[in-house]
């Protein structure tokens, strides 16, 4: 695996004399490691929001709904929107990496796979339930692209999608892979 020079070199220079162990640790961060780490945070936050907020308040306690039109409906934002707003804020801040939530059965057709790697990745994570990694070139730039399975971890995921007006699939069950998180790191 290639090593991200930015992180590795930056910290290596800064800490070269004093903390050899810190240098070793950062120097060994591959693209895959970084992607995995970022995704771990995303997945955990996403699970927390879905279980502790949406599923508890909407499906269990029935005190408030989650709605695509949360502003008009004075409702909770959807887990997918929570994810997208975060990703848009990251983009606005000028980060080099990008991420999005896609599916082979998208409610929002803009969330369908577009690039070849997205298509192959979504199909693969749907089959194996494991991450998929591939390099791809988009707009003349090279990216390390990781696709992670996005699973139905709460009843709310399944009931909302199966019932949604625009869904092309209505037989999701708990634990199914419903789509994938696609994460891109620019490569040097």
């Amino acid at each position: 695996m290639k090593v991200i020079p930015v992180l590795a070199l930056g910290s290596a220079v800064a800490f070269s004399a004093s903390t050899a162990s810190a240098q070793d640790a950062t120097a060994s961060w591959s693209y895959k490691d970084i992607a995995d780490a970022l995704h771990l945070i995303m997945e955990s936050d996403r699970t927390v929001y879905t279980r502790l907020i949406v599923n508890r308040l909407q499906n269990e306690d029935k005190v408030i709904k989650a709605s695509e039109h949360w502003k008009d409906d004075k409702a909770l934002v959807l887990p997918a929107q929570m994810f997208r707003y975060g990703s848009e804020m990251v983009a606005e801040k000028g980060a080099a990496f990008t991420y999005s939530l896609l599916s082979e059965w998208p409610i929002n057709k803009q969330n369908a796979a577009k690039t070849d790697v997205e298509k192959a990745g979504l199909a693969e994570v749907g089959k194996t339930g494991k991450p998929y990694y591939k390099e791809e070139t988009l707009g003349g730039k090279k990216y390390f692209t990781a696709v992670y399975p996005d699973k139905a971890i709460a009843k709310a995921c399944v009931s909302c999608h199966n019932d949604h007006k625009d869904t092309p699939r209505r037989d999701f069950k708990m634990g199914d892979v419903m789509g994938g998180v696609v994460l891109r790191l620019p490569m040097k």
Partner: protein
């Protein structure tokens, strides 16, 4: 041979000299913020203007640096920054359907290569009057097809529709779809043309004052009912004093000096000013002045230029309309600050287009008259301001109140922006969509019924039916 050479050399020299001179003058012209810089810069700037700007920017077109910056002329990022400086907040508030981040995402690189919508000027090129159409768009009208040419696969109802009709039929906008999304259409389907209750929201002046409390200069304006003007001897006629006594200003302890004693420059002691400007009003009326500066009436002031005059307008104005620059007092009238007068007479003192001239005979005007006569409850009348400067909820992290949106453009273009804050206070969504899509009805100031029908609600209902049938089928399959 030798003679030709000498003449050519002279001509070259002359050419070079003139070029250098005009480049310098142009450069100088661009540097100046002032809209009428001294010659030769001002003259050359006009001469070099590459073509009239659109109605959105013509007022400030001579202040080149407002959009182009003062260094890297026309650099994409400089221009983009200039666009967002004035327009980012409204796009955010409109839940922009095509935010920049959609086009900077590498997964859309192939699309962005076809249409670089991460930059405003891709679709809104200025100085191109020949190809500029509605909303200042300079792309061919069927531009939606660049990304959505497969829409019929997802929406069979859309098969065969011309891509130049997406945004012109009352169905979609590129940026603001707050009143056009499907669930909104179905939610508001089936209502009568005239709703049962028909009033616009009240202004919330009390809350505004409470929110102002921290920054309100209470030491200058202790809360008390004033009966005596503190103007220096000889200032203000008896009429002026009477007018002031009737206003909220006198009731709330704002005396003559409250507005007329202003520091001539920062740090200087206050001195009497005969004509206080908008900056004085904004001491207490922040949101109103802020939005005024965002609209057509105040945008020149916002760009550091002299105030807009009716003579500069592109739309028809009364020929005797005053040539004085527009400020708060132009519409509100100094001292009396009569909001009722400002809401109609203020506008009609200058505006003389068909729609404005038809107002007096419109059903909306009749309602305003009946409200003024006390025959209808407050908020039942419809004035120019009801639609063009509506009362909107102003909301930030710690503030929430109804106040008057003084940017007349906020609900104007595209006209579907008027649906939620204005039309739907009194009318059904269907009626409002139809009325806004009918140009003749706009000209007559909505006298009569719409002759246009927008089908989007029916289509959305049909699609909801389809979804319900699918849901039922899926449940049956699940049960088996």
């Amino acid at each position: 041979m030798a003679r030709t050479f000498t003449r050519n050399a002279w001509l070259w020299l002359l050419w070079f000299g003139l070029s250098a001179l005009s480049t310098w003058a142009l450069w100088l012209g661009m540097q100046l913020k002032e809209d009428a810089p001294p010659p030769p810069a001002g003259f050359l700037r006009t001469a070099f203007l590459p073509g009239q700007t659109s109605h959105g920017h013509h007022q400030i077109e001579m202040a080149c640096s407002t959009c182009h910056g003062s260094e890297a002329f026309s650099a994409a990022d400089v221009m983009q920054d200039a666009c967002t400086q004035c327009h980012a907040a409204e796009l955010k508030a409109a839940d922009d359907s095509h935010p920049r981040s959609k086009f900077t995402d590498p997964r859309n690189a192939e699309r962005a290569a076809r249409l670089d919508a991460a930059h405003c000027v891709t679709c809104h090129v200025e100085h191109k009057p020949d190809i500029t159409h509605a909303m200042g768009v300079t792309l061919p009208k069927d531009f939606c097809s660049i990304c959505h040419d497969d829409i019929a696969e997802e929406r069979p109802s859309h098969a065969g529709l011309g891509f130049d009709t997406c945004a012109s039929s009352g169905c979609h906008n590129f940026h603001d779809n707050r009143a056009l999304y499907e669930d909104f259409l179905t939610k508001h389907a089936g209502k009568p043309d005239l709703l049962e209750t028909r009033t616009v929201p009240e202004r919330d002046w009390k809350t505004v004052i409470e929110e102002l409390y921290e920054s309100y200069p209470i030491d200058r304006f202790p809360k008390q009912v004033l009966t005596q003007a503190d103007a220096p001897a000889g200032k203000g006629s008896a009429q002026v004093h009477r007018d002031w006594l009737e206003t909220g200003h006198a009731q709330a302890g704002v005396n003559c000096s409250g507005c007329h004693m202003v520091p001539p420059a920062k740090g200087e002691p206050p001195a009497w000013t005969d004509k206080p400007d908008h900056t004085v009003c904004s001491t207490c009326h922040k949101q109103e002045v802020k939005t005024f500066l965002e609209g057509k009436h105040g945008m020149r002031l916002a760009a550091g230029m002299t105030a807009m005059t009716p003579a500069q307008a592109l739309i028809p104005m009364k020929s005797d309309a005053q040539q004085e620059g527009i400020g708060c007092a132009t519409c509100h009238g100094a001292h009396r600050f009569d909001p009722v007068k400002a809401a109609t007479a203020g506008c009609l003192a200058c505006h003389a287009d068909k729609h404005s001239k038809a107002f007096a005979a419109s059903p909306h005007a009749a309602l305003a008259k009946r409200e003024a006569a006390g025959e209808l409850p407050a908020g039942s009348g419809v004035t120019c301001a009801t639609c063009h400067m509506p009362r909107l909820e102003h909301r930030t992290d710690d503030v929430r109140h109804m106040s008057v949106q003084h940017n007349q453009n906020d609900t104007l273009r595209p006209s579907e922006k008027m649906l939620r804050p204005v039309c739907m206070n009194c009318h059904s969504l269907q009626f409002s969509l139809d009325a806004l899509a009918d140009p003749a009805l706009k000209d007559s100031n909505f006298k009569g019924k719409p002759s246009v029908h927008v089908s989007s609600i029916e289509w959305a209902l049909k699609d909801a039916e389809r979804a319900e049938a699918e849901r039922r089928a899926a449940r049956r399959e699940g049960d088996e």
